[in-house]
Every structure is written in structure tokens, then in C-alpha cells.
């Protein structure tokens, strides 16, 4: 196309490059863009790196020899945390909004040009000039309507095929009738052509659809940037004894996987060699890790914490325990797709009313004896004037503004229907681990330790990935403690760590008596000290519960953790609770509540909450949640605090108030305009003014939500 093309080809002749994408949530400014792009371009083997700042992503084009792990390390060396982006499961059809935007641009072009011609007709052009302008309008309008009207015609045809009606049915009938009649008018040299009205209608309605689509895309991009890469494969031991990385989909029962400490399991299996502890919190909600040795079952979705193990795969792919949860989630989510959005609910009454009104106008004027042509003209005027222009804009405009305001406060709403359902919630069900609590333990009363004890504890804790060790190392490292020189550290799964510090034996082990709380015992020579750890509550739990109560929403706890651990939290806030619930139990509880007519707001994070999140009327998940949790939830809040939950409900309710006001405005406008149309007084000029006027008022009212989240 341009002169630059051959140059580009010459530069990339060497080896074909492959592309990979990474999410870098830590990008904040222009400096970060420059640093990452220049830093990566300097890495040998990288052909080009391009940052997408809006999506917080980097696309890297590199030679196949350079692995993705190398690039991840390169980005980390530049001082940014990065994760490899796999295919985004949320962005199924990113092209939908683009198509709508194209249709909007075409409709905008048509509206402007037809309006240009119409204005001169309205201001008195007559005779040949008027006919010429009508023909020109028709020439522009017909291709524009054929192109821009497709989304509406397709949706209306779909609805009619299933013998339902939605907003798009009256729109399509109105537009098609108006166009047909205007063509007839033009051919017979009549005075009134409604091409401008029909195209303008499409323009306003498409604006509403584009807003709706943009909101959905923006939230999905935001959430997919938070998604982690969850064990998409494993190192499989080959027949010749070597190991090779195998994709999770290619793993079959009978294979042996080598799982390093800190890695997630990609398939269910039985431990063959090694002994390690497993973090089950994402799968069951249990906060205490469990130990497994040879012969014990290890499940996909859990994380191996302490030492490398070999696992003989028993169930892979669609048979794993995770896949069971996914299936449960699919089933649970099905009833939700039957939710009818408020605009379509309104259309159920609106469409028949409009159609009978237009029909009545036609029959009435026929009986009055004005002739088929005149009666049809009035009927079309009624259809155009009542077309749900403001209605189609009323809902998306308010929802987009509200979602934008919430996004600034760290709440990502997936779509407009989520806001509608959030406003209806009247009962909250919270998970405990990871939702009411942070999901990771922190040591308490570290001050009781002497400086020596601290440095020995840090040296031991650093060597392990057990949550207790990680928490201890994090807390002590944060205090600036220097680790002691401990040698020969050995980790025994289920027992703890021991090592040698000079001539003294030191150990970090399980406390002697099992308690409900997490604890560890530090032994240096003969002296021992017990350290308690707690999974701290998220900030503002009480404030959030109070705010929900104020909104008329009762809360309860539904956790997979042991009753003792749940009871402690529940008593602190005076909430009813259920403990030890498996994913299916959670769904059952939610369905029981729904059976009592409650609209349940589920707040959860883990894999085990997935089905419940999908089954609830509406659901929210914290940004620290599992991928499954974030995908199943209607909204994700990225802060540590829980206050955004109450804020989101409050904003959702205000949004619905604005939407109802907008409906009232639209109805009020119809009350004035419809009698005029019925009386045959509406000319194309009046229709155009009424239509744009009512749309502007509705959008203006929606803009009041900009400050809703304050």
C-alpha cells in the first residue's frame, strides 16, 4: 500500500517471529511504557514489544527460541510483575461492539446528509426541487438502513421466530414501514417523506447499543487482566525418564506428573513418590493445608506447597474434580439466562400497545373516510413518534455512566443486566475464607520474639512455600530482619522445617496441641515458643454489613471451612452461618433461599464458590479470587476493603431510579406526542424535533449518575 511496506519486509526476513501477550498490571505512567518497550526491545531475540496501556498488556513479537518464561523474567527484571496471557475466556466476541460502531458511523453519516436535504424541504422547497431531494434522501437512506438496521432486524427476526417480542420488533416494523411509505411518497411526488426520521431513529438506538457493548468490553478487559494462569499443564515423565511440558488437554490417565513445590495440579491423581502438603483453599475453602504422601489422592486445582512429588494421573480433563465444579456451575448458571432485562420487560407491554395504537389510528381514519394513503401516513407517524428511541437509550446511558463511576472506585460490573439484578438483591450470602478474610494468614504478636528468634525464624520460613512460612517470612522480612545463617534445612511435609544453626538444632514445626487457629512452634535448642497466625478479616467488614443492613439486606455466612473456624467469625459479627458446605451444598442453600422468594447476592472467591456464584441472583468476587470465581461473578471489586460491595448495591439502586425516571419521561413525552400523531398533526419536522429532544433529555438525566459513587 505505502512506501513503508517493502522496508518492513526487508527487516523481518530472518526468522518468522511468534507473538505472545503478557498482562502487566503495575503500569502506571508514560515512563513505564517507555521502560518496558525499550527494555524488551533490547533483549536478544525480541523483534518488537508494544504496550497497550488501556488494557495493561504487552504484546511481544519474538523468535521461537526465546521461551515465554524468558520474557517473563525479562519483564520482571525491568521491575514489573507480569503474567502470561492465555486465550481470554471472557472475550468471546470482541468484534460485536466494533460492528455496532461501524453501523453507528454509517447511520450518523446518513442522518447528517438526509437532514441537510430535509431542512431545505421543511423550509419550503417545493415542486421539482422537493422531489429531487426526496429521491436523493431515498438514495442515501436505503443502503444506510439496510446496513445499520441489521442488528435490529436480526434480533427482531430471532424473537419472532421464538414467538416472543422484544424492543427490536416495534423498531424494525416502524423503520421498515416508514421507509416503504416514504418511498411510495417519493415515487408519487407526495409532500411527506420520513427518511430522516427512520435513519435518525437507528442512529440514536445504535448509540445506546454501542454504549452497552463498550461497558461490557471494558469490564471484561479489566477482569481478564486480573486472571492468573491456572495450571494449564504439567511436566510429564516420558518413557525414557526425561520430562516434558504437556498441555492439560493432552494429559491422560496413567501418565506420571512431576509437580514442583508451588505449582498447581493440572489433573487428579495419586501421589507416587514424595510427601507434601497441599493448599486446598481454592477447592474447598479450608484454610489449613493438608498433607498427602504416597497412596493419597491429590486433586486438580490444589497447589503443592512443600516439596516436589510425582503424581500418577487417575482422572484428567473433563473428569477431574475441577471439571465437576465447572459442570455444576454450568447447570447453576442456566436459570440466570432466563432473566429478562428491564428494557425488554417494558417492551413486552410497550410493543403491543404501540402496534394496536397505530392500527387503531389506521382503522379510525379509514372509517373517517380519508383514504388508504392518508390513513397509512398517520399510522406511520404514530409508529415513528412512539418508537422507543428514548427507551432504547434510557437504560444503557444510565447503566454506562453508573458502571464508569463504579469502575473509578474499583468495582468492575460485567454488564447492564448485572446492575439491574444487583439493585434487586435483598439477601447477602458471604463465603468466609478469602472473602470476609484476606485468604492468607498473618502472624500475630511477633514482638514477643527476641531478635535472635526472629532471624532464625526468617531463615527457616524462607525455605518453604507453606502458607504459614510464607506469611512469617513476609512479616519478618517486612520488619527488616536479617535471616540467620541456618544450614541443612529439611522440610517434612505435615510436620515442618528443621535445620542447624551453628551447633544448635532449630525447627519450625506444628504446635503440640492442635487448635482451631493456625499456629507454629519455633524451637531453638531446648527453648520453644508458639506463634499464632490469623487469617485477618478484610477491612471494613462491619461497616459493609452495617451498610447492607441499612439498604435492607440481611447477610449470612456459607463456608466450606470447618465449623469452629467459621463460628468464630460469625459470632464476631452476629451473623447466622453454615459451615463445611461443599459446592453442591452451597448451590442448594442458594436455591432454597431463592425458593423463599429472596434475591440472593452471593459474595465469594474460591473455585468451590463458582457454582454458587453462578446460581445466585447476582454475585460479586474480590480481585484476589480464583479465575473461576471471577468469571462466574457479575462484578469484581479490586480493593482489599469490602465496602465497594455496599457501594455497588447503592449505585445500582440509584441507577434503577434514574432508569425509571427516564421511563417516566419517555411515557410523558408519548402522552403529549401520541394525541398529536393520532390527530394527524405530526409532520416529519415535528417527529424529528420530538425524537432528538426526548433522547437528549434522557441522556442528560443519566449523566447525573457521574457522581453517584461519591
Amino acid at each position: 500500500m505505502t512506501a513503508a511496506a517493502p522496508l518492513e519486509d526487508a527487516g523481518r526476513e530472518r526468522t518468522p517471529c511468534i507473538d505472545s501477550r503478557y498482562t502487566v498490571p503495575g503500569m502506571r505512567c508514560a515512563g513505564c511504557i517507555g521502560k518496558i518497550e525499550r527494555g524488551l526491545a533490547a533483549v536478544p531475540g525480541v523483534a518488537a514489544a508494544r504496550v497497550n496501556f488501556s488494557a495493561k498488556r504487552v504484546a511481544v513479537s519474538h523468535v521461537p527460541d526465546l521461551t515465554e518464561t524468558d520474557i517473563l523474567h525479562a519483564i520482571e527484571a525491568l521491575g514489573f510483575e507480569a503474567q502470561l496471557l492465555t486465550d481470554n475466556p471472557l472475550a468471546q466476541d470482541p468484534g460485536e461492539t466494533r460492528d455496532l460502531l461501524r453501523a453507528l458511523a454509517v447511520a450518523g453519516f446518513g442522518t447528517m446528509n438526509i437532514m441537510l436535504l430535509s431542512v431545505s424541504v421543511w423550509s419550503g422547497a417545493g415542486g421539482v426541487t422537493r422531489d429531487l431531494f426526496h429521491w436523493l434522501s431515498a438514495l442515501i437512506a436505503i443502503p444506510v438502513i439496510a446496513y445499520s438496521g441489521r442488528p435490529f432486524f436480526a434480533s427482531a427476526a430471532m424473537a419472532l421466530r421464538y414467538r416472543r417480542t422484544n424492543m427490536d420488533v416495534p423498531i424494525s416494523i416502524g423503520v421498515l414501514l416508514a421507509t416503504g411509505l416514504s418511498l411510495y411518497e417519493t415515487a408519487t411526488g407526495g409532500p411527506h417523506a420520513y427518511f430522516d426520521g427512520a435513519v435518525m431513529l437507528l442512529f440514536f438506538l445504535l448509540a445506546g447499543r454501542v454504549l452497552d457493548g463498550m461497558m461490557r468490553d471494558r469490564a471484561r478487559e479489566g477482569i481478564s487482566a486480573l486472571l492468573k494462569r491456572s495450571a494449564p499443564g504439567a511436566m510429564i515423565v516420558q518413557p525414557d525418564g526425561s520430562t516434558r511440558w504437556t498441555d492439560a488437554r493432552a494429559i491422560v490417565p496413567g501418565m506420571a506428573m512431576l509437580v514442583a513445590a508451588g505449582d498447581g495440579l493440572a489433573a487428579d491423581g495419586i501421589v507416587e513418590t514424595g510427601r507434601s502438603s497441599f493448599d486446598l483453599s481454592m477447592l474447598t475453602g479450608e484454610s489449613d493445608p493438608q498433607t498427602a504422601g504416597p497412596g493419597d489422592v491429590a486433586l486438580a486445582g490444589t497447589v503443592n506447597l512443600s516439596s516436589p512429588i510425582t503424581v500418577r494421573v487417575t482422572r484428567a480433563g473433563d473428569d477431574t474434580s475441577i471439571a465437576d465444579i465447572a459442570r455444576l456451575m454450568d447447570e447453576a448458571g442456566q436459570h440466570r439466562s432466563t432473566y429478562v432485562r428491564i428494557a425488554d420487560r417494558a417492551a413486552q407491554f410497550y410493543a403491543p400497545a404501540v402496534h394496536s395504537l397505530a392500527l387503531a389510528a389506521f382503522v379510525g381514519w379509514m372509517l373517517a373516510g380519508v383514504g388508504v394513503h392518508q390513513a397509512l401516513l398517520i399510522a406511520v407517524a404514530v409508529l415513528i413518534i412512539t418508537c422507543p428511541c428514548a427507551l432504547g437509550l434510557a437504560v444503557p446511558a444510565a447503566q454506562v455512566v453508573a458502571a464508569g463511576a463504579l469502575m473509578k472506585h474499583g468495582v468492575l460490573i460485567k454488564d447492564g443486566s448485572a446492575l439491574e439484578r444487583l439493585a434487586e438483591a435483598d439477601h447477602a450470602v458471604c463465603d468466609k475464607t478469602g472473602t470476609l478474610t484476606m485468604g492468607s494468614p498473618r502472624p500475630v504478636a511477633l514482638d514477643r520474639l527476641s531478635a535472635t528468634q526472629k532471624s532464625v525464624a526468617l531463615a527457616l520460613a524462607q525455605a518453604s512455600r507453606h502458607p504459614i512460612s510464607v506469611a512469617l517470612a513476609g512479616a519478618l522480612g517486612g520488619e527488616g530482619v536479617v535471616p540467620a545463617d541456618v544450614a541443612e534445612i529439611v522440610e517434612n511435609a505435615g510436620e515442618g522445617l528443621c535445620g542447624r544453626w551453628g551447633a544448635t538444632t532449630v525447627a519450625l514445626t506444628r504446635p503440640r496441641e492442635a487448635t482451631a487457629a493456625l499456629a507454629t512452634r519455633l524451637t531453638i535448642g531446648d527453648s520453644a515458643v508458639d506463634l499464632a497466625l490469623v487469617d485477618p478479616l478484610r477491612p471494613d467488614v462491619a461497616a459493609m454489613l452495617a451498610a447492607l443492613k441499612h439498604l435492607g439486606i440481611d447477610a449470612e455466612i456459607l463456608s466450606g471451612d470447618r465449623p469452629r473456624a467459621v463460628a468464630k467469625v460469625a459470632e464476631q459479627f452476629g451473623l447466622p452461618y453454615r459451615a463445611g458446605a461443599r459446592p453442591a451444598d452451597k448451590v442448594a442453600r442458594i436455591e432454597a433461599l431463592a425458593g423463599q422468594g429472596r434475591k440472593v447476592l452471593m459474595i465469594g472467591d474460591g473455585l468451590n464458590d463458582g457454582p454458587a456464584l453462578a446460581a445466585a441472583h447476582v454475585s460479586m468476587a474480590p480481585g484476589s479470587a480464583s479465575d473461576v470465581g471471577q468469571q462466574a461473578a457479575d462484578a469484581v471489586f479490586t480493593s482489599a476493603s469490602l465496602l465497594p460491595v455496599a457501594l455497588a448495591v447503592k449505585v445500582a439502586r440509584r441507577t434503577m431510579r434514574i432508569v425509571r425516571q427516564n421511563f417516566a419521561l419517555a411515557i410523558g413525552y408519548n402522552v403529549i406526542a401520541v394525541p398529536l400523531a393520532l390527530a394527524g398533526l405530526v409532520t416529519p419536522l415535528i417527529a424529528a424535533i420530538a425524537m432528538s429532544g426526548s433522547s437528549l433529555i434522557v441522556v442528560g438525566n443519566a449523566l447525573r449518575l457521574v457522581r453517584a459513587a461519591r
Binding site: G31, R50, F53, N113
Partner: protein
């Protein structure tokens, strides 16, 4: 009337040019990263590293 024969094609042509420009901008990814474009102007790119310039 003869003025119209000139003005109407001009008006239509300008509208079509605008539409074509918008489509071209969409195809060439001008709207992919609006925040990034706003930030990039602040990078002082003396060495002209990654851009093809």
C-alpha cells in the same frame, strides 16, 4: 439550481470522506489504546527506539 448540482455532491463527498476516515482509523487500531496514546506523548524518545520513524 445549477449550484445544487455542485454543492450536493460536495456535501456527500465530504461526508463519505469522513466516514472512510473513521473506518480507516478503526481498522488501523487507532482506538485500541486511547489511554496509552495520551501517555505516549510524554515519553521523550530521543533515540527513536521502537517506532519505525
Amino acid at each position: 439550481m445549477s449550484g445544487l448540482a455542485l454543492l450536493i455532491p460536495v456535501a456527500l463527498g465530504m461526508g463519505l470522506a469522513g466516514l472512510a476516515a473513521f473506518f480507516w482509523a478503526m481498522r488501523s487500531g487507532q482506538f485500541e489504546d486511547p489511554e496509552g496514546s495520551a501517555q505516549r506523548i510524554l515519553i521523550d524518545d530521543d533515540d527513536d527506539g521502537d517506532e519505525k520513524g
